[in-house]
């Protein structure tokens, strides 16, 4: 036997080891089983009726919730048995006030020890197999996925579609595999949409894929889950699941706008990348106050001694080169520098046209 020393009927190594438990009757075990059933039922009710998980919004989340529930069932059973045994012992085996004797000298029980080694091994191996199958399925993007690049940077997300369109909000079609290609520009970040249940760290210099197959229309939070610095807790955006046809129309419309005159294209770029969240621009009705007002760009360009268009481009690509008075450095993400050239050109033209004569 592999733990040969444990069985020692001769009593040389561990005197008094018994080979069978002195079970006088089954009553204690029946009582423990009853307490365990009660505890299990209670825990089951908490687990079932508690609002533990977001409703799945992707096929992957559905499979992961399945793993969650089988793990929960296994956990509740183990929890109930162990706690029941503790509670029973606490009540039944409490020392009586005038009793100073010792308990029965039971040193072990070989069959029991084998049982509680083998059964947990089987359980955890089965859980591993189930999890491995789900992992495999969740990594399968099918034959024709929509590929979207995800670019993370302190403290913003950018999403780039195959046509080159870049946006600050992730839009995905319903019931189609979406293969995200995730990377970062500066430090580690992590892409997570709780409702999709999928997560992947974004690592500078490397690209990792993550598959999402949305199954429910709606808008869900995109959350950074890897501590990335000061703005970590606000590094959020949204993921929008659209009907497939609507998504195709949206994409075609965006591409058409970007292919249009630079000013029109720039307006689209401005809207897609969330510029209005931080900046004020009268022409676009933007009222953000986190960063300097864009309507004051001509004056800033003059102060920097640069032509307006050149100054705008520099401020997007290298946001820390000139810092507007009263605003801290390192706030404006450099993700916008990753815009394809045509979109960046368009944005510069649009901004320059919008602010001329503004101040």
């Amino acid at each position: 036997m592999w733990f040969a020393g444990a069985t020692d009927p001769a009593g040389v190594c561990s005197p008094g080891r018994v080979t069978s438990l002195p079970v006088r009757n089954n009553k204690p075990f029946v009582h423990v089983a009853m307490i365990a059933i009660a505890l299990g039922a209670l825990a089951g009710i908490v687990a079932y009726f508690g609002d533990w998980l977001p409703a799945p919004a992707s096929r992957e989340a559905g499979r992961i919730w399945f793993i969650f529930w089988i793990s929960t069932i296994v956990s509740i059973v183990i929890f109930a048995i162990v706690i029941a045994a503790i509670l029973y012992s606490v009540v039944k085996f409490r020392k009586q006030p005038d009793d100073d004797t010792d308990g029965p000298p039971i040193h072990g029980h070989t069959r029991l020890e084998i049982i509680w080694t083998v059964i947990p091994t089987i359980i955890v191996l089965l859980l591993s197999v189930a999890s491995a199958i789900v992992l495999h399925k969740d990594s399968n993007a099918g034959t024709n996925p929509l590929k979207v690049e995800v670019i993370a940077q302190q403290y913003a997300w950018a999403f780039k579609y195959p046509s080159g369109l870049q946006t600050g909000v992730l839009r995905v079609p319903l019931k189609r595999h979406v293969e995200l290609h995730i990377t970062a520009l500066d430090v580690l970040h992590s892409f997570w949409v709780p409702d999709f249940a999928q997560k992947q760290d974004a690592v500078p210099g490397q690209t990792f894929r993550l598959v999402i197959t949305p199954t429910r229309l709606g808008t869900y939070p995109v959350i950074c889950t890897e501590l990335c610095g000061l703005g970590h807790s606000v590094m959020r955006t949204a993921a929008v699941v659209m009907p497939a046809a609507e998504f195709d129309t949206w994409l075609a419309d965006q591409d058409a706008k970007l292919a249009g005159p630079p000013g029109e294209a720039g307006k689209t770029v401005f809207a897609n990348n969330g510029c209005a969240a931080c900046h004020t621009l009268k022409a676009a009705g933007a009222k953000g106050a986190v960063g300097p007002s864009l309507d004051k760009l001509p004056a800033a360009a003059a102060a920097a001694g640069l032509p307006l268009a050149d100054y705008i481009r520099e401020s997007i690509v290298e946001p820390n080169k000139v810092i507007a008075k009263g605003y801290p450095a390192n706030v404006m993400p450099a993700t916008f520098g990753q815009l394809p050239k045509a979109q960046l050109d368009g944005l510069v033209v649009y901004l320059a046209a919008s602010v001329k004569g503004g101040s």
Partner: protein, 647 residues
């Protein structure tokens, strides 16, 4: 009954030394000498740096960040030299005659003895526990501050950098300055007594190990004072963020070195002590499980700790010397850091729980008046955890972008580690089954540990499962899990151990009623604080955020209130400890009627533990076995301090 023989010990005591005269005061080891050794070592460090920069033509020659980084090595060295931690070896190294060891630095005559370099393992044990409890309180206060900030969404109390600093220093102190070293402290006190040894194998190294520890702790705490604030990258300190953070970051990188060196030295000392200094008859299969647990833990520490030291040096080199180990812009590999870091930090979770397992085994057996169930399988499951513990590090990296093929094998080894842990839990249950349970405070904490660690272990099954971990990692579910295993697990065992050996260490009994109050307050507040975190984590709240979605406001408010109650429960513990130490009733040699060797000697034990080395003749847990003895004394006098053996 063996009582300390005062006359006998005077033989060991040094003759009264004449105090040094004149300038000799400045040369004698002590805090006065620190006054000049620290500036001297600071000067030496800065001088070498300036010389190198000048010779290489690097400008500017004086750069604050480099001076600071270097000083985090030289100033502690100056301090340690000043108080006399190196005296013996320095004399030896420079060829001066080493002093005959007159045990001058052994044992504490009064409270001042605890603030000096002391070679007595019992003094060092108390120094360790005292120091680590101080850092436990500091770390706990930080938790109170950031829980206050998190009570409502938005920013109210502290700015984001301070918040990130608070969570980072909280975790670093709790791990490196409390849980890991407090076990080294309890082990230091108890192990030599338990195996029948007069002290540790290397008492001078033991003294040095202790004094390295506060260096790391003060460094991490003091990082709040430097420009830019404390290190704010979590206790994991992942680059590239850590490469580009303000100066406070190096206080973590260097603080870990001091705590880590302390840990390694103590582990080596434990190993040599346990292997070579067991009393006659104390075979490995007759060692108490606490000794087994510390033996296993020490192996983990010795193999694993150099990895985190390396990881932190690399980050420091990236910052100071522009080595770009982890800077992808220059060909570095950020995920490489995580592999090295977790190759220590996963085994570290076993370093933080196995000694607790040992404590629980002692207490459950003694307080149930029954032998430990399945002793050999209990010892072997510790070894099983040791071996498997080195094959699971990457389960912290399932979403990090490591090699995809590695995920399933690591999941399987992670899941398998539940098996030896399960063996321990079931064997503990079988130990208390049909026992005569004495509901003392240590027993309450032991049972509390059993139930709380069970929950932590079960949530570990969720996290070990790759598919589910992808959803749950880096959320509050992780925060809940780690606190169930490290607080409900390790800290409960620490409280249990402190109450259990308090009479041995101080010679006095703690107040049982306050002890029970402490347990119930802690148990209830702990669950109210950490259980809801499972919930909000799965639902969508990431960890390490200064601000969160308003939908989690109610839960966070509740968690914060419960956490303040948890903090307040510690005050009951502190009051009980301090008050009982000063005026508690005298405890006898063996208040628990236990069989292990530390209860053979007086409380507190004599200077060199045993007046005569006992001979071990049987197992340590033979409660209820007629005529069984764990040890007899050489003189032939049979020890019978407890009724148990006489039955």
């Amino acid at each position: 009954m063996v009582v300390a023989d005062a006359q006998h010990h005077d033989v060991h005591q040094a003759p009264q030394h004449q105090g040094p005269s004149g300038l000799g005061w400045l040369m004698a080891p002590g805090y006065l000498r620190v006054l000049w050794t620290v500036p001297m070592m600071f000067g030496v460090g800065v001088g070498i740096m300036a010389l190198i920069r000048w010779l290489e033509g690097w400008g500017p020659i004086w750069q604050g960040s480099i001076v600071t980084t270097l000083s985090l090595i030289t100033i502690p060295l100056g301090f340690l030299g000043g108080i006399g931690a190196f005296d013996f070896w320095l004399r030896y190294a420079i060829g001066r005659p080493t002093e005959v060891d007159d045990h001058r630095s052994h044992g504490a005559k009064d409270w001042r003895g605890y603030f000096k370099v002391n070679t007595d393992h019992k003094v060092i044990g108390v120094q360790y526990v005292g120091t680590t409890v101080v850092f436990f309180l500091i770390g706990g206060l930080m938790a109170m501050i950031f829980r206050a900030e998190l009570a409502q969404p938005g920013t109210q109390l502290v700015d984001t950098q301070t918040f990130n600093g608070l969570i980072s220093v909280h975790a670093a102190l709790m791990i490196f300055l409390f849980i890991v070293p407090v076990f080294a402290g309890l082990g230091n006190y108890v192990i030599p007594l338990m195996i029948g040894a007069p002290d540790m194998a290397f008492p001078k190294l033991n003294a040095l190990s202790f004094w390295l520890l506060p260096m790391g702790g003060i460094m991490m705490t003091a990082s709040f004072l430097v420009p830019g604030g404390a290190f704010a990258t979590g206790w994991t300190s992942y680059p590239p963020l850590a490469d580009h953070q303000p100066l406070g970051q190096v206080f973590f990188n260097m603080g870990v070195q001091w705590a880590g060196a302390s840990s390694i030295m103590t582990a080596l000392n434990f190993l040599v002590t346990i292997i070579t200094m067991r009393a006659p008859g104390m075979t490995f299969w007759r060692m108490p499980l606490l000794v087994w647990a510390n033996f296993t833990t020490s192996l983990l520490v010795v193999f694993a700790t150099p990895f985190i030291a390396g990881a932190q040096f690399f980050v420091a080199f990236d910052r100071v010397m522009h080595t770009h180990f982890f800077d992808p812009a220059h060909g570095g590999y950020p995920i490489g850091y995580q592999h090295i870091f977790w190759f220590y930090s996963h085994p570290a979770v076993y370093i933080m729980i196995l000694p607790g397992f040992g404590i629980i085994s002692e207490i459950l057996s003694v307080m149930s008046r029954k032998p430990i169930f399945g002793y050999r399988l209990m010892a072997m499951s510790l070894m099983g955890i040791l071996v498997l513990g080195f094959s699971v590090w990457a389960h912290h990296m399932f979403v990090a972008g490591m090699a995809g093929w590695l995920r399933v094998p690591i999941m399987i080894s992670t899941m398998l580690i539940a098996v030896p842990t399960g063996i321990k839990v079931f064997s503990w249950l079988a130990t208390i089954w049909e026992g005569k349970i004495h509901f003392t405070t240590p027993m309450l904490f032991a049972l509390g540990f059993l139930s709380m660690f069970l929950i932590g272990g079960l949530s570990g099954i969720y996290l070990g499962s790759v598919a589910l971990d992808i959803h749950a990692s880096d959320t509050y579910f992780i925060v809940a899990h780690i606190h169930y295993v490290l607080f409900g697990g390790s800290v409960f065992t620490i409280f249990a151990g402190i109450y259990y050996w308090f009479p041995k260490m101080t010679g006095r009994m703690y107040n049982e009623r306050l002890g029970k109050l402490h347990f119930w307050l802690t148990f209830l507040a702990f669950n109210a604080t950490f259980f809801p975190m499972h919930w909000i984590g799965l639902h969508g709240m990431p960890r390490r955020v200064a601000d969160y979605a308003p939908e989690y406001g109610t839960w966070n408010l509740l968690i914060s209130i419960a956490s303040f109650a948890l903090g307040a429960s510690t005050l009951v513990f502190l009051y009980n400890m301090i008050n009982s130490w000063i005026r508690g009733p005298k405890a006898g040699a063996n208040p628990w009627n236990a069989l292990t060797l530390e209860w053979l000697v007086s409380s507190p034990p004599p200077l060199f533990n045993f007046d005569e080395i006992p001979t071990v003749v049987g197992h340590p847990y033979e409660y209820g076995v007629k005529g069984a003895r764990h040890a007899v004394l050489n003189g032939g006098a049979v020890h019978a301090p407890d009724e148990v053996a006489v039955h």
